[in-house]
């Protein structure tokens, strides 16, 4: 009698459990990426755009914005020893190279003394200036200028 009871419970419980697992599997499958391609074989998948640096001057978005860099800076050395940006943008070279000169504020030391060479506090250009590419923003930005 007891054996029959256990058997009865099992005959109901096992298909139920199996069915539940199958359902859960299916639901999970729907969320999961089915193929590496990410789309059915007959569907067109566009190649991701290659975003290149903006060329030409980019207008400022707010008054205090450090001007954006309209070219690649990947391979330029900016470290304790050398700053390759200055080979075009320092006042000594800008004329010959047809590049914008650094703002004269960059030749003031922390006490406001005028210097001939760029101030140590302004040495690392990419702390403020960044190259700009024509790509959509990766994250939403809610920044608003104060002025």
């Amino acid at each position: 009698m007891r054996k029959l009871g256990i058997l009865g419970v099992l005959t109901i419980a096992v298909p139920l459990a199996a069915g539940g697992i199958a359902l859960a599997q299916q639901a999970a499958d729907n969320d999961r990426v089915q193929t590496l391609r990410g789309a059915p074989i007959d569907e067109h998948v566009a190649v991701e755009d290659i975003f290149r640096p903006n060329e030409g001057r980019v207008s400022r978005n707010y008054r205090q914005q450090p001007p954006l860099i309209p070219h690649k800076t990947q391979q330029y050395q900016i470290d304790l020893a050398a700053n390759e940006c200055l080979s075009c943008h320092d006042w000594t070279n800008a004329g010959d190279r047809g590049a914008p000169t650094l703002s004269m504020t960059h030749y003031l030391d922390r006490d406001g003394q005028q210097l001939d060479s760029v101030s140590g506090t302004r040495w690392f250009c990419n702390q403020c200036h960044v190259p700009q590419v024509n790509a959509p923003a990766l994250v939403e930005n809610t920044f608003e200028a104060s002025n």
């Binding site: 640096p53 060329e55 030409g56 070219h71 690649k72 391979q75 050395q77 470290d79 020893a81 050398a82 390759e84 200055l86 080979s87 070279n93 190279r97 047809g98």
Partner: protein, 232 residues
Amino acid sequence: MADIENQAKKPGLLKRLWRFIARPSVSLSVGFLTFCGIVIGVLFWGGFHWALEMTNTEPFCISCHEMRDNVFAEYQGTVHQNNSSGVRATCPDCHVPKEWGPKLARKIAATKELYGHFVTRSIWTEEKFKDQRIHLASNEWARMKKTDSQECRNCHAFDYMDFTQQENRAAKNHQKALDDGLTCIDCHQGIAHDLPPNYLEAYRGVVADLIANGDIEPQQRDIEEAKAAIKE
């Protein structure tokens, strides 16, 4: 008695060697001797060339810690080592001329580097290397400037450049360089290695020295000369 006389007559080593070389072959045919000459010649010349090429590879260059830990480490990730097209320029591609004569001259000059490595240990530590860097870089700049950047030109030539495919500022500056008779190294210093402090002043000094020594012609006209030309 006879023995002593013979000993006294025995000629010196050089003379005996010369006699051996100068003596006509008695039993060997001219054909055989020519063949032997060719075989030995091929072995020697091939061996020489093989050794020359052996010392012209990246693994050879970085078998010394001075190169491996400093310049080779910096070169990692630069455009000549890592790029989209998969072309790579290794040490000798830029630092050893391809032409036979200049290559041999460079190889002979490189014996001084062996002296520096084994005897004076002039760039044995990172600190010593950094102290010497401006001097070492100047040597390379002078060599490049003198030869119109010969090693760059093995791959890059103004004639083959499509300026329309270049970034605007690159196209503009390349055209300017072409017009002014500048060479690659005039703008592209330190493209594969780190630059030392005041590198630009040092480079200009190198060029001024070369002009003063008459090794190269001055590219740009004097300001006075240009003013005079404008007045006329």
